[in-house]
Symmetry: C2
Subunit: 137 residues, 2 copies
């Protein structure tokens, strides 16, 4: 079964902060109609043709999840992994995220699954960047 | 910027339980080499060409997230949304999830964003199914 597109919904504190971080900082592609605050509503980014990221203010997110509680900062239920073509591209992406204000959770290095690193977005959501470069040995 | 594929990593309690739920229950497409326990290692499903779901035993997941804590059941940081072509397809998908053992968190109904419903996987991770059907009015 193929399902397209899948939308990953995450709770956020502030739409403008998230918009700036993902669009200006990470160069993610926003989609949808812009609302009065200059930010698309809902705030979505197309990561590729098969997946979108939707960032929902915490109150609305809490409404969606019913009797569940919204995870507070520092509590992780998911990690989103992005491939990078080379080890150098991992370094460049983490540097870009850092300049955009991300917290670098683990700097780029050799891990059991490859060369990569992890950063947190303005709400503490974790992203990994992992090199697809093949190394001899 | 287009990034493919994005991998959504979630913590799980038991590889076999998750494998059965997603492969046999939801008919998701597993990818990767099968390990001695008969389950791919790592346990991944290709949802479409642009996104994979990776299910990681909680211990390993905790290692990945560093000084963060793994969300316990009932604490939600993310909701994954799947499109369905019609309202009837939403009903059918939720029924399939229910038969596979999912908890139905909110039965299918008309929501501000469309006709849909929400279920929880064996570890409490939330999925929404949302109809793409256009209604007059």
């Amino acid at each position: 079964m193929t399902i397209t597109p899948v939308t990953i919904c995450l709770p956020i504190a502030d739409r403008r902060t998230s918009f700036r971080f993902y669009r200006d900082g990470l160069a993610f592609e926003p989609v949808g109609e812009v609302a009065d605050d200059g930010v698309p509503e809902p705030l979505q980014f197309a990561l590729n043709e098969g997946v979108r990221l939707m960032l929902i203010p915490t109150g609305g997110f809490g409404w969606v999840i019913g009797d569940r509680n919204v995870a507070s900062r520092g509590i992780s239920e998911c990690v989103l992994d992005l491939p990078a073509e080379t080890d150098g591209a991992v370094d460049a992406f983490l540097e870009r995220a850092h300049r955009a204000g991300a917290e670098i959770v683990s700097g780029a290095g050799r891990q059991p699954w490859g060369y990569g690193g992890t950063f947190a977005d303005p709400d503490g959501h974790l992203w990994m960047v992992t090199s697809q470069e093949k190394h001899a040995g």
